[in-house]
Symmetry: C2
Subunit: 336 residues, 2 copies
């Protein structure tokens, strides 16, 4: 800025006013300063800006997953991509960190907060009994929870969520209409808010229809567990006629396992994946899947966070209910 001031023949303050749209300089001078700044390729030092109270111009994103669990998962990359798109417009940086568990994640938030490193954070994989909302409230760190249900106890946090309950209800509706009465839901990690929501909804739906042979089994989202659970339930007595998998990886692995056991898909057993991706079109038959726009999900979350940073108040935003894309893996229940 000193250089710009010298080149333009004005004081540093004038440069600051000119470049930040503050009053106090003539339009003429403003233009001249702008031009010089342009020529010099000047960009404000984020450090200096941050130091003089402008915030860090950075948003944090922590992914709490053991390194070996980071497998084939298109969701996060797409989510991040959407987040970026919105943040980039505002020249906000995304500070990304992978940690082992939620405790480490909390430590990262504390550190970022103490270091004034981020202006806000995006929280994923909310859990039942989650320590993070309390912490973020305590720290006063603006935050958007992605995938959590609206939560009255944390009025400071925004929430961007998909209606899992509604989606589950519609999936069960569809399967029921096809004659399915024995349904197993191969769920994701226990303790995750959306896992629990889906499980609760499935139970409620089953109860409503008087279906006793409907249950959920939790897993770690891996192909291995997806296949293992599939084998276990299909080898039992009165095996299910429909399987709902909480992600695409397990759905594909599960469908393969079923086929190996001699169960034809969808003649003997229908398969639904709760995540749509190229994976679902890599097996025969193609898997019916709940499709949602993860990139848009990310955009929405980022928009909520920037709104919060702009001083807006927190709110809960519901993204469209995932849509069931019927492909070849769902059909009429055997014997129905």
């Amino acid at each position: 800025m000193k250089d710009i001031a010298r080149h333009a023949g004005v004081s540093q303050s004038a440069v600051s006013f000119a470049l930040n749209g503050r009053p106090g300089v003539s339009e003429e001078t403003r233009d001249r300063v702008r031009q010089v700044a342009e020529e010099l390729g000047w960009r404000p030092s984020t450090a200096a800006r941050a130091l003089s109270g402008e915030g860090a111009a950075t948003v944090g994103f922590v992914l709490a997953r053991p390194a070996d669990t980071l497998g084939v998962d298109s969701f996060f990359l797409q989510l991040v991509s959407g987040i970026q798109e919105v943040l980039a417009e505002r020249h906000l940086g995304l500070l990304f960190q992978v940690v082992e568990d939620v405790a480490d994640e909390c430590a990262v938030y504390r550190r970022w907060w103490a270091e004034h490193r981020v202006d806000g954070v995006l929280v994923v994989d909310p859990r039942t009994d989650d320590p993070r909302p309390d912490l973020l409230d305590e720290l006063g760190l603006p935050a958007v929870v992605i995938g959590g249900a609206p939560d009255d106890r944390h009025p400071g946090l925004s929430t961007v969520w998909a209606d899992d309950a509604g989606a589950m209800a519609s999936v069960v509706d569809g399967l029921y209409a096809l004659g399915h009465r024995r349904i197993v839901h191969i769920a994701g990690l226990p303790g995750l808010a959306h896992t629990e929501r889906r499980i609760r909804t499935l139970r409620a739906e089953a109860g409503r229809r008087g279906l006793s042979e409907v249950k959920s089994v939790t897993t770690d989202y891996s192909d291995a567990e997806g296949a293992a659970v599939t084998r276990r339930v299909l080898e039992g007595v009165a095996p299910p006629t429909a399987l709902i998998y909480d992600n695409d990886v397990m759905a594909v692995a599960g469908a393969a396992a079923a086929t190996e056991l001699g169960f034809a898909v969808p003649a003997d057993v229908s398969v639904v994946s709760w995540e749509d991706s190229a994976l679902c079109r890599m097996v025969k038959p193609w898997l019916s899947a709940l499709s949602r726009d993860s990139v848009e999900f990310g955009r929405t979350a980022a928009r909520e966070l920037t709104a919060l940073l702009d001083g807006g108040s927190a709110r809960a935003v519901r993204v469209p209910v995932p849509r069931l894309v019927e492909r070849g893996s769902t059909g009429v229940a055997r014997g129905a």
Copy 2:
């Protein structure tokens, strides 16, 4: 720091000396200051540190991919995970950005540099005729190129690379030994350095053995193109007996396409994937794949970058040659 100074009954300078291990304070005072800092949960403001010449304590990572291409790809997430692991030890942040193309990527580097936002960057997907090394040289931004071959013209850049040439040679060796003479390599994006290296090596190996029916076809890495190219080459006259795919997504899609066309794997056509992941074990038969440790790849790259930041000189590090994991998709060539 002012608070700490007050609580400990010393000057701010003393606090700074004490906490940074500088001489000028007694051990007794140092301990007291440390303790007070601990109690107050103090962490230095990164902005202030950066402003007083300590660097931004941040490393940049740009992924130049159109949003819709960010599909099922375990490589990057694993790579980032490994990078993180090393950076976290040093309390270095990772600034992550997704952009459309290399031109945008260069713009991001320029901006980061001007804003003093990062101390160094990690560059992925190096290309033939890549503008990035020149730019980074010009900016004087420490950088590690991931996946590029050593490059004499940029003595300032470190390189972490895998020996694609060696791996390709060994794959061709193996296939040749199994009697394969007609081999098609379904390569990735043209222009990527490693794509070109593999193509060149394949051609050389074919030439050495006098094989005329060996070729490479470039794609965009998508399952769709993988399948399309597979169909095209298998439907031609004298179809290949072995297919080498540059990633797991195409390998799986290609294997499925081959099966659909009535080509049994591996009886009629052998399939090798250049990327190993859970995907390769989701189809029957399981795919033989070149396996490498992406997490460790990331760790190595991050270590090289931190070495550079510590003032070390640039070097080229070769990671172990990917190992071919023989599974069910490779076999003796029909008629051999």
